[in-house]
């Protein structure tokens, strides 16, 4: 169908973004003061040892040459070797990508599970105490630092109630599921606050929309009007908001992963930044960026699928 023709050509538009990201990460990482060799060797390093490490990772080359190698490797599907972990960065990422993926997807799912009923309640009972209640709850959800939410959840649900493990990722599928409830909930609480607000606003707009009035004029009960005509139309902008916020969301996993000791990409990235592990930072940032781009691409496809008017 020609509405989906963009699927073929949109990826071309990604190229400049991905190129931009590669430059940005590369430059950013190298602008950060601090020497990876010294970080690796610690306090008792000798100058010669430092020189040796720098040479080993090509850090003594001019910066443009380093970038050239980076791009060259990238073109060959390589991301270089981690200075700290002394292994291929792609291999590292391969082991770390799943927890982050689960965390992000789980959070989104959970956030939707929270936001949809809340926004429904608020928009259908607009102006009542229920609406105000939802507003207060969502504002509070938004106003709490995630590390704080995490701590509270741990104390209540893990230490006191012993329902979920405090932290970690788990081994088997069911084990992982149990481990990821609290981390996902942590992210979902603030995410759902944003989604609830957005969804509530679009629901209200749709509830009062002409097409909803027309549906009522056909004799449809309010429930049918809401679920068949209001919700589908209101959900589309909210899903797009979600896609735009994916970078924010992934950023949020950085803290959640370290609090919950989830061996994911966020932790890898932060440790990478703090230990100046250039290759790791570059690779993870690139991965995140590509993921973000893909998510937005997916959102485009979804929007086109959900809204017959949209053509891209």
């Amino acid at each position: 169908m020609h509405r989906y023709r963009f699927v073929l050509f949109r990826p071309l538009q990604f190229l400049p973004v991905i190129f931009g990201i590669s430059v940005l990460t590369f430059v950013l990482v190298r602008l950060i003061p601090g020497d990876p060799a010294r970080m690796l060797l610690g306090t008792r390093a000798t100058a010669s040892a430092i020189e040796k490490v720098r040479a080993q990772y090509g850090l003594d080359e001019p910066i443009w040459l380093q970038y050239f190698y980076f791009i060259k490797n990238l073109a060959q599907g390589e991301m270089g070797r981690s200075i700290v972990y002394k292994t291929d960065v792609l291999k590292l990422i391969a082991t770390r990508i799943e927890p982050t993926l689960v965390l992000v997807l789980g959070s989104v799912l959970l956030a939707l599970l929270i936001a949809v009923p809340m926004a429904t309640l608020a928009s259908r009972r607009r102006g009542t105490m229920a609406d105000q209640g939802v507003r207060v709850v969502s504002t509070l959800g938004l106003g709490m630092p995630s590390f704080w939410i995490a701590l509270m959840l741990m104390i209540v649900f893990s230490v006191n109630l012993d329902w979920f493990p405090v932290s970690g990722y788990g081994r088997s599928v069911s084990d992982k599921a149990v481990h990821m409830v609290l981390p996902c909930l942590t992210v979902a609480l603030s995410l759902s606050a944003i989604l609830t607000r957005s969804l509530r606003a679009s629901l209200i707009a749709q509830i009062n929309s002409d097409q909803a009035t027309a549906a009522r004029a056909r004799g449809l009960p309010e429930g049918a009007v809401f679920w068949r005509h209001v919700m589908p139309n209101a959900l589309i902008p909210t899903l797009n908001l979600l896609a735009v916020n994916i970078g924010w969301l992934i950023g949020g996993t950085v803290i959640v992963e370290s609090v919950f000791a989830i061996p994911g990409m966020g932790q890898l990235l932060v440790r990478g930044i703090f230990s100046r592990d250039y290759m790791v930072v570059q690779a993870v940032a690139m991965t995140f960026a590509v993921a973000t781009v893909l998510v937005n691409f997916l959102a485009d496809i979804l929007t086109v699928a959900a809204d017959p008017r949209v053509k891209l």
Binding site: K86, T95, F260
Partner: protein, 478 residues
Amino acid sequence: DGVLTIGRVSDSTTFDPIATAQNLDFWVFMNVYDQLVRVDRTGTKLEPGLAESWEVSDDGLTYTFTMRDAKFSDGSPITSEDAAYTLSRIRDSELSLWSDTYTIIDSMETPDPKTLIVTLSAASAPFLSTLAMPGTAVISKAGMEEMGEEAYAENPVASGAFTVKEWLRGDRVVLEKNPEYWEADRVQLDGVEWIAVPDDNTRMLKMQAGELDAAIFVPFSRIEELQGDANLKVLLDPSTREDALLLNHENPALAKPEVRVALDMAIDKQAIVDAVTFGIGEVANSYIPKGALYYNADNLRRPYDPEKAKEMIEAAGESGLTLDYMVNAGDEVDEQIAVLVQQQLAQAGVTVTLQKIDPSVTWDTLVAGDYDLTVNYWTNDILDPDQKTTFVLGHDVNLNYYTRYENEEVKQLVADARVETDPAKREAMYVKLQETAKAEVNWIDLYYSPYRNVTQSYVENFYQNPLGRFFLEDTVKK
């Protein structure tokens, strides 16, 4: 089951002993590898490891090790060849971060599988101690050559009590009892899991929830609370850790000894111990940690006297002194000390401006000398005081630990002490060094503090030796 789970800040980075300088890795190396020579539990004596015994020639240049009957985890015998390979690798390999320490090894011979003869290019009192450093963990030559360095670094052939069963990068290292280990009878645990839990609070909560058998590095602030938990045992093992306030002697004011002395007097170390360590630490009086070899218990303790300090500073013509204090961002204890020092020095008329710096930049700043004051800590890698003394007083490459303290006499004394083989004379030399350092205030000793670990009450014989190693051979889970 008999698997001990231990929570720590971060995951291992490699199993190649020569390629890392991180304690994180050392802890696990000591479970997986054995060494020719080990440090004992008290951290004051060397004891035989894979080397059953050794002899030192009179000139102190030739060391002859006799290897015991032991096997790698793949069942192959551990020979002197392997030991020699291990040492030559740490000295020569591209990957080695420790080459400098071992260039003193001139040559090695292996006349038979049980004998290793090491010849040094110069006599060195601390040489044996350096053989107990984690980098010299004995690896299998055949294994390394067969697997290649990268594969070995992921799944090593073990010479120690445990083998690596599984390594989930970023999450945990899973160790399994090594039945081939020469002391396998001693090992009670079926396995060990080193689990990364970066957040201190989370780690402690995991202990409280009973999800870990042990956790290392308990924040000072949590000790009292955890001690009150009947299910937990808080272990405060003696350490060689000393926290000291570094002074940059290049600052014209700090170059004056009387100013440094005044600052030492202006700082109420006991208050710091009380506030920061909740009374768990102990005020330090020497750069050599308490309980370590040649520690001088009688070293001077300057009384806290801000008034006098103020007078001295004024007398030195430095009234209105302003100093930049470099704080390691994100290190809670560091920030707390900084805040206290700032307040205390204010009473002596010294203005301290705090400068938060990303920890990864700290070293560059220290190297560049862009600071006046900063707190740092040191733990000994080896039991011999030479290492720290050289770093702190010996005019080594690191500018006397970046304080830029200079005293030629001291420098000479450090060099002499290194080669002095008579223990009594050596001790006298180190006492002299400690007294001089204190007198001249190369830096300001703040406090000693123990290692703070916690285990479930059913765990026994879990300990950290003063050099920071965990030996789990005797650990039992009841």
